[in-house]
């Protein structure tokens, strides 16, 4: 498609962020050295090294858990709930105040477009703290009977796709309910978590309430395995989730898992096609497809298949891929070389298995890790690109004829995180939603998030919910009978 006009670059200034050459762990309110070998974090759009970050060993994690235990026993647990709420309100406000700084840092470290970090990640993170702040002194209404109690120390391990937002989803409910936390950010995206540590200090949050231990898989394993951790919360791949479930088996630890997905986005022939196409694009190309609830399987009714695909291709042709800090960018960089390799591999398998690959004419930058938006048609349910989570900007298109077939195909997955339905008929939305085995169902929209709305999966997409009243249950126990 010929462009009507050229876009001038509209880069967001990175001068608002001040990245230190190296970072320590945040333990007991202080930045301290880690005992492991430091690692670097890289801007995936340029491969530029942003900073060197400490790596936490078992001993470091132990120190963090002890600090969290102390803070739980002496300060945070006994504190008046309304005061806990006030700290969280402060954090929410600080995140709002420093929103642009967080957004730029997130885009630098993660590769996501500034439009998304600025308009989605950071405002939602602040909203999560604001929402949970209000819960701190209202837990009698959480639905667990009067006087529910915190669990203690929460060990939390979060992924690289929404670094600050996933931190907020973990930390806000844990703190609101009276727990203290040891959080491990993802190895490739530690910087906003470390800036969050500074926010905790600006808020005068008591030392030890939030501890941040950076590192790779071993650090995460140490957090999960620590015997004084009462609660483990993990967001990430199903494979790692499985190993965590094994690791906590037989312990008293409470576990919630938010894992992978392979969401069906079902388009019926009566759907408003233009609106549906926007939703399909948003569903699978938002955040480069690094979204566990991405609508990566398009199920389109056979009689509108050609129309939908033509319209979709036209729309994808207008997406702008490139500098994440450019305010016009729709698709940023793939977060890591490792992830890019996986996306390439699965796409190649898609072709090898007989699906047809379509990509728009799209110039990729010379440096950094990039993958163009990709649509596979002629996909059969047996293909790996219809079954495996790609976690990239890759859409697999399947067709159906009847609502029953749509439901059967949508549910034909080991995952069950989310789904989408596009139709003008309200009764059909509700009937289909009723039969989908998925934790979140979006109708005539996709990828909507709100702190008041519980999020989480069925089947191998995990268990437990984050957000809303249901999310509180993950961090509470009923009062002693």
């Amino acid at each position: 498609m010929t462009q009507l006009f050229e876009y001038a670059p509209a880069p967001e200034s990175r001068s608002i962020v001040d990245i230190a050459p190296s970072y320590g762990l945040f333990v007991d309110g202080e930045f301290v050295d880690g005992s492991g070998t430091p690692f670097t974090t890289v801007n995936p759009a340029t491969e530029e090294v942003l900073s060197e970050v400490a790596s936490a060993t078992d001993a470091d994690v132990d120190r963090a858990v002890r600090a969290a235990r102390r803070a739980f026993t002496r300060v945070w647990g006994p504190m008046r709930p309304a005061d806990r709420g006030k700290y969280l309100f402060r954090i929410a406000r600080l995140l709002q105040e420093r929103a642009r700084e967080f957004a730029v840092l997130e885009s630098l470290d993660n590769g996501k477009p500034i439009r998304e970090s600025r308009d989605v990640d950071v405002p939602l993170a602040a909203a999560h703290f604001f929402y949970h702040a209000g819960w701190a002194d209202k837990l009698d209404w959480a639905g667990l009977g009067p006087g529910p109690k915190p669990l203690g120390v929460a060990g939390q391990v979060i992924p690289w796709n929404f670094p600050l937002l996933m931190l907020a989803w973990k930390v806000a409910p844990a703190l609101a309910t009276g727990n203290t936390v040891v959080l491990k950010p993802a190895e490739t995206t530690p910087l906003t978590a470390l800036l969050f540590a500074e926010v905790c200090r600006q808020a005068d949050l008591p030392p030890g309430v939030v501890n941040i231990v950076t590192g790779a898989g071993d650090t995460g394993r140490a957090v999960v395995a620590h015997e004084d951790v009462d609660k483990v919360a993990f967001t990430g791949s199903t494979e790692v989730g499985r190993s965590i479930a094994r690791a906590v088996a037989g312990t008293r630890k409470k576990l919630t898992l938010e894992l992978g997905g392979k969401a069906a986005n079902i388009v019926f022939d009566d759907a408003p096609i233009d609106q549906a196409v926007e939703g399909i694009v948003r569903g699978v190309f938002f955040n480069q497809g690094h979204v566990c609830c991405a609508g990566s399987r398009l199920l389109v009714q056979e009689n509108v298949h050609d129309e939908v695909i033509a319209s979709l291709q036209r729309r994808i042709g207008t997406l702008r891929l490139g500098d994440p800090l450019d305010k016009n960018t729709d698709i940023g960089a793939i977060n890591s070389a490792e992830q890019l390799a996986r996306i390439r591999e699965l796409s190649d398998v898609g072709e090898a298995e007989g699906a047809s690959r379509w990509q728009p004419a799209c110039e990729l930058p010379d440096r950094g890790w990039w993958f163009p938006p990709t649509v596979f048609t002629d996909v059969s349910p047996a293909h790996r690109i219809a079954r495996d989570e790609v976690f990239g900007p890759v859409l697999s298109v399947l067709t159906f004829r009847t609502p029953d077939e749509a439901v059967a195909k949508a549910n034909n997955t080991t995952y069950g995180l989310s789904a989408g339905i596009w139709t003008e008929k309200g009764s059909r939305i509700l009937a289909i939603a009723d039969r989908l085995r998925a934790g979140v169902v979006w109708a005539n929209t996709f990828n909507e998030f709100d702190p008041t709305s519980p999020f989480g999966g069925y089947k191998q997409s995990g268990y437990g919910r984050e957000g809303g009243r249901h999310g509180l249950a993950a961090y509470l126990q009923e009062a002693d009978k």
Binding site: K86, F89, F130, Y131, G134, W135, P403, S427, L430, T452
Partner: protein, 289 residues
């Protein structure tokens, strides 16, 4: 440093539709401390002022009730933030008006600020706590949600001039209603200062209107006003309460009866002051392919 600087005194006026008018009646009355010492001349709101306030509250209702709960919560939290900055002023006014010691006045002001925070946290939780899906025996998706009642007239407590006032006003606003408040008659001054806070806290004009004056005089006009949807009689004169409730019946207003005695406002209010000003809306939708 000179200690004998002559202070600039404040003119205490009404707070209606985001502005600070004098009473259209031109009336004022003398406000004193409990020992009879002069504090200020307050505006003495009239029937016409009350009607103007109802017009403003009605006009503000669509926007305020239509704002997201998150937005309303942040605005109410902002009220707490701005109040905190005027902490000393409120302490002085509460101490003078109620004849309290410094520490008791401070406790009242602290609690009043914290009450805004309490209600700021409720705005986006009422739907989950008071609403939900109803498992009707048929192919329907059916859910119920709380919605604001509308314009609420509030006769504020007569004794607790700030904490009591906030305790009756904040829940009305938290639920998405707009309010016309008649303040304590003898202790109206903190209310006017609260109006100044509301005017500078992103609370849209007309959402909260504060009338200083006599609940016994204005109350009946509000109670029988057809464009008022609910009335809180907490600060009504005891001998008038039954008559006010009768007047309110004319337009089937929701009525909160006055307590036998003014309560201890420092106690946790729970949902008791939110639910009277909420309607329940139930929606049915068929399910089927």
């Amino acid at each position: 440093m000179s200690t004998d600087r002559l202070a600039v005194r404040k003119t205490y006026k009404l707070y209606v539709n985001g502005a600070f008018p004098r009473s259209e009646s031109g009336r004022t009355y003398e406000v004193t401390d409990p020992k009879g010492g002069f504090l200020a001349n307050a505006s003495w709101a009239s029937r016409k002022d009350a009607r103007d306030a109802v017009v403003a509250a009605r006009a503000a209702f669509a926007k305020w009730s239509g704002a997201t709960a998150y937005n309303r919560g942040q605005v109410l939290y902002r009220v707490a933030e701005v109040m905190e900055g005027r902490h000393a002023q409120f302490c002085d006014e509460v101490a003078a008006g109620e004849g309290l010691s410094g520490s008791r006045a401070r406790a009242a002001v602290d609690a009043a600020i914290d009450r805004w925070v309490w209600y700021a946290g409720w705005t986006d939780k009422l739907g989950a706590v008071l609403g939900g899906a109803n498992p009707v025996a048929g192919p329907y998706f059916d859910f119920s949600l709380p919605e604001p009642t509308g314009v609420v007239a509030v006769l504020a407590p007569q004794r607790s001039s700030l904490l009591g006032l906030v305790s009756v006003l904040a829940p009305v606003l938290a639920g998405g209603n707009t309010a016309v408040v008649v303040t304590s008659r003898t202790r109206p001054l903190p209310a006017v200062t609260l109006g100044e806070v509301l005017a500078t806290s992103d609370v849209p004009a007309g959402v909260a209107n504060l009338l200083t004056g006599d609940a016994g005089e204005i109350g009946p006009w509000l109670a029988e006003h057809d464009d008022v949807d609910a009335i809180d009689l907490t600060g009504a004169p005891a001998e008038q309460a039954m008559e006010l409730e009768r007047l309110a019946a004319g337009s089937i207003k929701r009525v909160v009866r006055p307590p036998a005695e003014e309560p201890d406002w420092s106690a946790n209010p729970g949902l008791t002051r939110l639910t009277p000003f909420l309607e329940t809306k139930t929606v049915w939708h068929p399910m089927g392919l």
